[in-house]
Amino acid sequence: MPDSLNLDQHTSQRYDAELEGVRSRLLEMGGLVEEQCRKALKALVKDNVELAREVAESDYRVNEMEVEISARCTDILALRQPAASDLRVVVSVIRMTADLERIGDEAEKIARHALLLSERRDAASFRGDPKHLGKQAIAQLRGALDAFARMDVRAAIETAAQDPEIDQEFESVTRLLISHMMEHPASVKSLLRVNWCARALERIGDHAVNLCEEVVFQVKGSDVRHLSLSEIRQRYL
């Protein structure tokens, strides 16, 4: 089995175009979702109401893309009966759209919390606490999408390997927010909102790990979703 995939070179060039079409559309969806995350984080940290509203109101575009890409994949399954690597790509892209859509939902969630936090003065001093966590999660998402674009198993595994750091950062943000809560009991409601945002960012990291696992599945043909990172590394690096 090859170490990377050639999605071209089918006897039917239209089939090549259809497969490449769903892949590039998924990358577009990834780009949109990444942008949503970036804007949501900025809206949270910088207290930017306009940006938060923009993110909250444009999640429908992500949802529409999910539906469209899934439909394209269904058409390929019905009309082309893909096999081997083609089948893996189609099945996996369907799963990836679901992960990207969930990431979009997390971004929307952060934006909506940011909007509510803007209404409260007490949030100003700690709404920036998850900034570093957000940057890490977005970097991980970008790494996963890059690995998918290049069908790069090594990059996918190395990106997935960053997840424990994100989990650790989430724990520290939570600890920090709890100490704020003890110091400022009146602000617990706002602090909880910030913690929910941190939680959403941590979930974005988890979905990015799923995307990385799909890249390994597409290229190597093995489902690694429930293997430990060290097992995956041992087998494929």
Binding site: P2, A83, R88
Partner: protein
């Protein structure tokens, strides 16, 4: 055809799993062919038939190169590959159908239940009763439906009297899922049936002599999708009693009916494995290219 004792010289194609090494090998280049080893394990623990180091020549043309492959008891094995890859030639070796082609030479060993079918004392008529065959185009005899099925048991002396023969005809037609459609017209010519019915009649004719193995050479290529689905359903039922080797150009058919799939290319057995694995994660680049419809 040589005698059967040289099992040691046949293992070149038999070792399992050499995908990466094989990747750079251009098997279209004949110099590379001798170095090629089959990807996947061609052996099974319960072989009904075993081919070892089989080479077939049509005159000067080397049509099958060093193929070793087991066919397991009560399994359906599909043989796929592009036209001219040798899959039908290999299938026809399994009941010595190639003997009737004067320029055809077969080397290597093919065993049925551990006995060499190319042994000089092997009775080919008896062999073909044990290893039956169904062809691409339905070819019923120009006789009645009843006679089409009764012919084989009669020449092999399998029935004593009309009652027994009636039983064989009925049970064969039932097993071929044709009985209900023809029970009232058994004296009508077999050639008057539809294509799908004719093919099931040919299957009934093949199983009437109680074969152990049934070889099918593209049995559905002349049939419409419904008749094809009926034959495929039938194959699924028949595997309870028989061992089946099927050559097909339809990859979906191979995927639907078989437990193992063997991919042939230019006379070599490139890869063999569980059908699910071959169709989701083939290990050899040529297999991948073929089943995904890429030009290699």
């Amino acid at each position: 055809m040589q005698e059967s004792d040289n099992m040691n010289q046949v293992t070149t194609a038999a070792s399992a799993g050499v995908p990466r090494e094989a990747k750079g090998l251009d098997i279209r280049n004949h110099a590379d062919v001798s170095a090629y080893k089959t990807t996947g394990n061609p052996m099974v623990t319960n072989p009904k038939m075993s081919a070892r180091g089989v080479n077939v020549f049509y005159g000067e043309k080397h049509a099958i190169m060093d193929v070793s492959l087991d066919i397991g008891e009560n399994e359906v094995i599909a043989m796929i590959g592009p036209s001219g890859c040798g899959k039908s030639t290999f299938l026809r070796c399994l009941n010595r159908m190639n003997d009737i082609i004067p320029i055809c030479r077969v080397q290597g060993n093919i065993m049925l239940d551990g006995e060499d079918i190319y042994h000089s004392r092997q009775d080919t008529v008896l062999l073909r009763a044990r290893v039956g065959m169904v062809f691409q185009k339905p070819n019923p005899f120009p006789k009645s439906i009843y006679e089409n099925v009764a012919y084989g048991p009669r020449i092999h002396g399998l029935a004593h009297g009309k009652v027994e023969m009636d039983e064989i005809v009925e049970s064969s037609l039932r097993r071929a899922s044709l009985w209900d459609e023809v029970k009232d017209v058994l004296d009508k010519p077999g050639t008057g049936l539809s294509g799908g019915q004719q093919q099931r009649l040919c299957i009934a004719r093949a199983i009437a002599v109680s074969p152990e193995v049934i070889l099918m050479d593209e049995p559905c290529s002349a049939l419409d999708p419904i008749a094809t689905a009926r034959i495929e359903e039938l194959i699924d039922e028949l595997k309870e009693r028989f061992t089946i080797a099927i050559v097909t150009h339809s990859m979906q058919q191979a995927a639907r009916v078989s437990q193992r799939t063997a991919y042939f290319h230019l006379g070599k057995l490139i890869e063999v494995g569980q059908t699910k694995q071959i169709f989701t994660n083939p290990q050899h680049e040529l297999t991948e290219n073929y089943i995904t419809g890429r030009f290699g």
